[in-house]
């Protein structure tokens, strides 16, 4: 399923809304999650999963082509942990 298919499903369920409003709603939801993570916050969606930020230390990396050492700066990376309900559903347990 891709973004436009998700928008379509929501639009079909909500005939009272214009398609462009559904697009804005879906965009807002995903942007809000990115904004929270960019601020270093967590987003916990019970039953679905939780988005959080993990810190990666600076390290010496290597250019795989030349074998040359390069310094990689410390950075933050997004992380998603699947919620219990969804994990169980994926395995036919709920």
């Amino acid at each position: 399923m891709i973004r436009s298919e998700l928008v379509q499903k929501i639009a079909d369920e909500n005939p009272q809304l214009f398609q462009r409003d559904v697009e804005r709603i879906v965009n807002t939801l995903f942007e809000e999650i990115i904004n929270a993570l960019a601020d270093g916050d967590r987003v916990e969606l019970r039953g679905f999963g939780a988005f959080s930020v993990k810190q990666r230390d600076a390290r010496i990396g290597r250019n795989p082509r030349s074998g040359e050492s390069v310094e990689v700066e410390a950075k933050n990376v997004p992380f998603f942990k699947t919620g219990k309900l969804l994990r169980d559903r994926l395995n036919g347990k709920a």
Partner: protein
């Protein structure tokens, strides 16, 4: 960096502020989005949200695990797991390097 945790309520509040919907409708839409994504994943479909990220399913084989506390061997049954790969846009916004 703060340690705030956002929930469905915060997402529906953002929608409430952005679009002229009631709080109840906004909350229902948040739930509806998550429900459709979950249902697609449960039916075996990957979910790809452009400029956000991709949720993909992976099937893991059965293997023998070990209880790290007791050292006891325990069978781990085959299972389906979900992985999330963030988009470059999300990675850039979150990394704390360069812009922003």
């Amino acid at each position: 960096m703060s340690e705030k945790t956002l929930t469905r309520v915060d997402l529906s509040e953002a929608i409430f502020n952005e679009v002229g919907l009631s709080r109840n409708e906004s909350a229902a839409l948040v739930q509806s989005v998550l429900q459709h994504m979950s249902d697609a994943l449960v039916s075996g479909e990957n979910v790809k949200i452009s400029s956000f990220g991709t949720f993909s399913l992976r099937d893991k084989n059965a293997r023998v695990g070990r209880n790290p506390k007791t050292g006891e061997e325990v069978p781990i049954s085959p299972r389906r797991v979900l992985t999330f790969r963030p988009s470059n846009l999300m990675k850039d916004r979150v990394s704390g390097q360069s812009q922003d």
